[in-house]
């Protein structure tokens, strides 16, 4: 007990409650690698938003006469095989990659939370059946699953988001179920039941919010791989299906054939993929440290 503070007004209650997230945010900003990651992501997000301002070229129009120019002041990253400005394509490609990556992870999270909550919250037979299905999905490599789904549903942006999302679902479902199983034994869950809270209320209000932390960390890390997966699908010829759309993966495929003549064409989209993936990875790791008191440095 803080005996000396009797005369003084204790500052604790004067200050607004900081809460878990405010504290975690502060720790994240003190974490060097996470800051670098945040900067990388910020650069790409700003680039994607401000693409029309940053580049006066249309990413889908080019002059064949300007094809395969080396980087210069007029074309910062040179031009591609069809004379389109590479810088503009990388910027607009960021729009697509960030959008597809984020939405597929949101899809994966949504499916995963529903399945994981049903399995971990209801337990018993429901848990058994759902987890066996998840096991089967986990046994198939994610990118292979995504390729299968795109091959089945056809090419297109929505199909890609669904495919990548579904390939992440088992990871999220399993993670959430694990946390929920541990929480079922938690004292505050028993305490909640002892004052008459219903099962659904305990699951939604008491257990899920406590189980979200690892999911958020995993989702941030999944963003990195989702961007790579989306580009991977594009590289394998399963991209959005519109050759005019700038997509990092398809840009790699297009320029791979001319690696000897125009190596810079493959360098810029590849660098974009690597840097954004590393950015999300660093932020994910930073979040994990910021949210888990045991890893605090």
């Amino acid at each position: 007990m803080a005996a000396p503070s009797i005369a003084v007004t204790p500052p604790v209650s004067q200050r607004a409650s900081r809460g878990l997230w405010r504290d975690a945010g502060r720790r994240l900003l003190r974490n060097g690698p996470a800051l670098i990651g945040l900067t990388c992501i910020l650069v790409f997000v700003l680039g994607a938003i401000l693409a029309p301002v940053l580049s006066s070229y249309d990413p889908s129009l080019g002059q064949l006469a300007d094809a395969r120019q080396t980087p210069s002041l007029t074309h910062l990253m040179g031009t591609d095989l069809l004379g389109r400005d590479e810088f503009a394509r990388v910027l607009y490609g960021a729009r697509l990659s960030l959008q597809l990556g984020t939405i597929s992870v949101v899809f994966g999270l949504a499916f995963g939370i529903v399945i994981g909550a049903a399995a971990g919250g209801l337990g018993g037979k429901v848990d058994g059946v759902l987890m066996r299905i998840v096991d089967v999905l986990l046994a198939v490599p994610g990118i292979l699953l995504a390729i299968g789904i795109v091959a089945w549903l056809g090419r297109g942006q929505i199909q890609i988001m669904l495919a990548v999302g579904v390939s992440y679902t088992p990871i999220f479902a399993r993670l959430l179920r694990g946390s929920l199983l541990a929480l079922r034994e938690a004292d505050f869950v028993l305490a909640g039941r002892s004052i008459g809270a219903s099962r659904l209320r305990i699951l939604v209000r008491h257990m899920l919010p406590n189980a979200l932390t690892p999911l958020i960390v995993q989702a941030t890390l999944a963003l990195a791989t989702a961007i790579i997966d989306v580009a991977g699908l594009g590289f394998l010829g399963l991209g959005p299906g519109d050759p005019r759309v700038a997509e990092w993966g398809e840009m790699l495929t297009d320029s791979a054939r001319f690696l000897q003549y125009a190596p810079y064409l493959i360098f810029f989209p590849a660098a974009a993929i690597v840097i954004s993936a590393i950015g999300f990875n660093l932020v994910g790791d930073g979040l994990r440290e910021a949210l888990d008191p045991r890893l605090r440095r």
């Binding site: 007990m1 209650s13 409650s17 505050f188 305490a191 039941r193 002892s194 004052i195 809270a197 008491h206």
Partner: protein, 367 residues
């Protein structure tokens, strides 16, 4: 009629290592407004008994396999889960051992208290908040309006237990089960929390079952004590009577194994020998026999029922005048109870049936 009547309660746990015989036919009653202590070492079935009557046994392992639990005449074990849920918090409430983990860390105190109040009443959010403020003030939390918006981690352990008490008493339950409410607290805070609990439940007329392994805690708080061992009640008596005249060898052992301020200097503590029984085996004979200094040969095969110490009087089950009852074939005399050892000439605890070593040891005694 007593508020709570438990008759022959049997609880088993099915585990991978076999069946755990957690509670083996426990019967007791609690009167309106009465405070009953449930005392015993870890694993003796105190908490399981209380979880069983709240119908909160861990599923699917825990089962009530027999007995009746009646609250004010209502058979709790026959209620549906929804009916039971309605009783929890409103008629029956519980306080747990560890206040550090019994509050949800991601919700503010306000959210948790208002939720509890509104789950059982028609109050609006504002009314429930006002009630929460009033409750926090009642349990001695300074500036309840501001503290209500705080998260559990911003409270100390003692303060959290006060919040738990406030939540448990929010709806004026008729029976409060306090499962080791002070075990996790500093000694200096323990007394404050116990006093608070005593004062509040006395005000509202709430009956309390106080579960503890600490005889010092029950001494000042309860009117009556049940001593439990291995899933049985082995002795029950009004508190003063139990401390003055412990009659079961286990109770005698418990009282002699705590250091006392008024003890003669140099007097050794007498520990209870051995370890609690393995509850995976179905009980045969008196469960305390293997550790008992007063055991007879019959103790190995007969488990005596709970019977009045003094026969010929009507048996009273509740209140200050409750009959002192024990489950023992060979109870220690008052002098032996005071000494903590059998004092009879030439008495040796009966060996386990079939144990050769002990028989040899006895053969040497007469010489």
């Amino acid at each position: 009629m007593a508020l709570l009547e438990i008759e022959g309660l049997v609880v088993r746990f099915r585990t991978h290592e076999g069946t755990i015989h957690a509670v083996n036919g426990v019967s007791f009653q609690v009167d309106e407004g009465e405070t009953l202590g449930l005392v015993g070492e870890s694993g003796c079935g105190k908490s399981v008994t209380s979880l069983a009557l709240m119908r909160l046994l861990p599923s699917p392992a825990g089962h009530v396999e027999g007995g009746r639990v009646r609250l004010d005449g209502t058979e709790l074990l026959d209620l549906t889960e929804a009916e039971m849920r309605d009783l929890r918090g409103r008629e029956l409430a519980m306080i747990f051992q560890d206040p550090m983990t019994s509050l949800n860390p991601v919700l503010t105190i306000a959210e948790q208290m208002v939720e509890t109040i509104r789950a059982h009443t028609q109050m609006t959010a504002e009314q429930a908040t006002a009630r929460a403020v009033e409750l926090l003030g009642m349990v001695g939390i300074p500036r309840p309006e501001t503290r209500l918006k705080a998260f559990p981690h911003e409270f100390s352990g003692g303060m959290r237990q006060r919040v738990m008490i406030a939540m448990a008493l929010a709806l004026h339950p008729r029976l409060l089960i306090a499962d080791e409410p002070t075990t996790a607290l500093d000694v200096t805070i323990q007394a404050q929390v116990l006093e608070l609990l005593r004062a509040l439940t006395a005000d509202s007329g709430t009956a309390v079952i106080l579960i503890t392994h600490d005889l010092g805690v029950v001494a000042g708080m309860t009117r009556r004590i049940n001593v439990m061992y291995a899933g049985y009640i082995v002795e029950t008596a009004p508190t003063a009577e139990l401390f003055a005249h412990p009659a079961h060898p286990y109770t005698v052992g418990l009282l002699h194994s705590i250091p006392r301020l008024d003890a003669v200097e140099g007097e050794p503590l007498i520990p209870i020998e051995g370890t609690p029984p393995d509850q995976r085996r179905a009980p045969v004979g008196c469960p305390f026999a293997p550790r008992c200094a007063w055991r007879l040969a019959a103790c190995w095969s007969t488990n005596p029922p709970l019977e009045p110490l003094v026969t010929g009087m009507p048996v009273v089950l509740t209140g200050d005048r409750a009959t002192h009852r024990i489950a023992c074939l060979n109870p220690p005399t008052p002098e032996e109870a005071a000494a903590g050892l059998p004092l009879r000439e030439g008495f040796v605890a009966a060996p386990a049936p079939g144990s050769v070593v002990d028989e040899l040891a006895i053969a040497e005694v007469p010489a």
